[in-house]
């Protein structure tokens, strides 16, 4: 019937635009070493490993075999998963399902990226259909800019609303010693930053980082035995419904709506803002931190700006979003989704240091990527 699964350890690197001191394998080793320390385990306690990144950022084929030294995967089961921006959450889901399957008790999920090793935009452009779309594909920012323009027109959202969300996340990052970008930022600073693609400005947008994250999942008995407060997985749902960029629905975020709807049902969530104590969300731009709130059933369509303005998602608000600083502060792409899960797990375990939200019992995590795809994971302090 499958086992319940809890997260029992998390490790992450210090993230930066370029980690000159660490090769890809060394970066992975840093995260894995810290995760083992966090869980008070040794590599011998790990039964299986799953790893993920995006191939064309570093041009390493068979990353699962290349990374064996860093992963500690010698004479262990290991394979690779990859789905673009959602890779990190895909890795997390793989750790979860493998531990739930009964095939393995303790599974380590590792995401990483050395975005400094290539021209990120060039590598991203190779995700478009090479025959029909690669030449005219201008990256993710175009659709994000357009969807927010339309949202502003339809519901009276403003550029300032996005700037509020940007400043909120960037200031949260000051409390996260691992974050890549740590700068005190005001709403005015965001508004004055250079325009990338109207209405998205430089400080609204995510950076690209070098970094890695490792999260250890354990089946029910092991989790209870090894960890005083595991972060239990209550739901994992993925919707990758699109194949062609031209098919996207811009008036709402369909995969986010569908994935969260299903995940809430599995986890018994009916009033997300009340029931979640915090969230770590894959929001690639601060405009998403406004518009996409509608698509997670936090409010009726068009209700997001009000929630953002009244501080619902601030550290002292009803449901803090991204105490870590989120994706606009740290973005090692193949690890980004896994960092959401790892950060939320730490919140439940009470290990989040200066960015700890008080008494977190339930947390929401998301991943975003590919062709407007969404992954969702819900964690809880109580066993599901």
């Amino acid at each position: 019937m499958g086992k319940r699964v809890g997260i029992i350890g998390v490790g992450q690197t210090h993230h930066a635009a370029k980690r000159l001191d660490a090769s890809g394998v060394e970066l992975i080793a840093e995260a894995v070493t810290r995760a083992l320390d966090d869980a008070q385990l040794t590599i011998d306690d790990i039964d299986a490993i799953v790893v993920g990144n995006m191939d064309h950022f570093e041009n390493i084929n068979y990353v699962d075999t290349w990374a064996v030294d860093g992963l500690g995967a010698y004479m262990k089961p290991v394979f690779k998963v990859t789905t673009g921006g959602t890779t990190g959450t895909t890795v997390a889901a793989s750790g979860y399902y493998q531990a739930a399957s009964g095939l393995f008790d303790v599974v380590m999920a590792v995401g990483w990226e050395k975005n400094s090793e290539s021209d990120t935009q060039a590598a991203i452009a190779t995700c478009a259909n090479p025959i029909l779309e690669r030449d005219s594909f201008a990256g993710a920012i175009g659709p994000l800019a357009t969807e927010y323009s339309m949202y502003m027109k339809a519901y009276g959202a403003t550029e300032e609303d996005a700037a509020i969300a940007a400043a909120r996340a960037r200031n949260n990052a000051l409390n996260n010693p691992y974050a890549h970008s740590r700068q005190a930022v005001t709403v005015e600073d965001v508004m004055k930053s250079p325009m990338l693609s109207y209405p998205i400005k430089f400080l609204d947008m995510c950076p690209r980082s070098d970094g890695s994250c490792a999260v250890i999942f354990a089946s029910e008995e092991k989790a209870k035995q090894l960890c005083p407060q595991p972060a239990w997985v209550h739901a994992s749902v993925v919707r990758h419904d699109y194949t062609h960029f031209g098919d996207l629905e811009w008036t709402y975020m369909p995969t986010l709506e569908r994935a969260t709807e299903r995940a809430y049902k599995l986890a018994g969530i009916t009033d997300p803002i009340k029931e979640f104590d915090m969230a770590e969300l894959y929001l690639p731009a601060s405009t998403c931190a406004v518009k996409w709130m509608d698509s997670m059933w936090f409010c009726d369509r068009g209700g997001a700006p009000e929630l953002v303005r009244k501080g619902t998602f601030h550290m002292d608000g009803e449901m803090p979003i991204n105490p870590s600083g989120g994706v606009i502060s740290t973005n090692p792409i193949g690890a980004t989704g896994l960092l959401r899960v790892g950060e939320a797990a730490w919140q439940i375990m009470g290990k989040s240091g200066d960015r700890q939200v008080e008494n977190v019992k339930k947390a929401l995590c998301t991943g975003f990527g590919g062709c407007s795809w969404t992954d969702v994971m819900i964690l809880g302090a109580e066993m599901p």
Partner: protein, 383 residues
Amino acid sequence: MIYMEKIAIIGVGQTKYEQGKPDTFAELIYEVTAAALEDAGITKDDLDDIVSISSDFWDGRTISSMAICDAIAGYGKDITTVEGDGTFGAVYGLARTLSGKFDVTLVAAHHKGTESNMNAITNTSFDPLVERKLGLDAVSSAALQARRYMSKYGLTQEQFALTSVKNHGNAMRNPLAMLPMDISVEDVMNSRMVADPLKVLDCSPLTDGAAAIILATEEAAKKLTDPAKCVWIKGVGHCSDAYRPGDRDLADTEALKRAANRAYEMAGISDPLSEIDVAEVYDAFSYMEPLWLEGLGICGEGTGCKSTEEGLFNFDGELPVNTSGGRLSANPVQVAGLAELAECVLQLRGEAGEHQVDGAKTALAQGINGMCGQSHCVWVLGK
């Protein structure tokens, strides 16, 4: 003892394996997805989970899985992507099906070996900081492994050639195989030297194709499918060796042994040679088949070639190996492991036609990831 609930393979689909197939990745995947659904007698609405397998390197596209989300029936379902051999992708499909969250999982892979430069693609498997700069690729590194295997046990190139002769001969029975050939050891020996000791006929060909399998929980299998279609998973294991060629003794098969032992333990197999009736072994190069048969415990260390000479693995031998024609007769990378599993399913159902091994009850499939078989995956299936 690893306990596993019963999971069945209820459907399989394969394209014909060819060079220069005109189809796009999505068209290949649609063909095998539709075929596997039809084989299982179910519709896309019966699927609740999808695992795709593809390689951004071979496809020339990062997020290569984006090309096939529609064609693999991914809309509105949980879906994920494994990059590696089909046997590993199927392991993840199995884990998901066992998790209690899904009833029916489709696993499908596509590959077009003829649209790119194999040497350049496989070169990217080597560390850019060390071995890649030397220009190593799948063929030259395999040649290093072949030589090490020869010198460790005093083997000859003629002995390796026998496997090529056998598997190309088996391919003559399989209408899906790409290179059915009636050849002799001399033909292999006289074929062009690529990287000594490997000659053209010791190497698998570039191949295009796709394959899919459908996994189901016992309950779902009973509800949805004709019991005659169900093949049951008895055991599975995967395991990786160290990365750098210089870290390993290339003729050592410890990782494969561990993968196999885990699969055997789950399946309750103690004497694989007598208990397994048919095996699909990853013969990307001729020498690999005897070497992996040793790691699989089907023959003793250093005796794989001798047993091959004795005809043990012939179509009419004690344990027929690579009845499909093997990777030497069609090697759609990533797809290959699923093609192996599909062949095992056909054998166990008694649907393998001309390449049917009479009364096959237990079948084995083995796949690899990385260069020189660094990482192995072993499956045992039963009726």
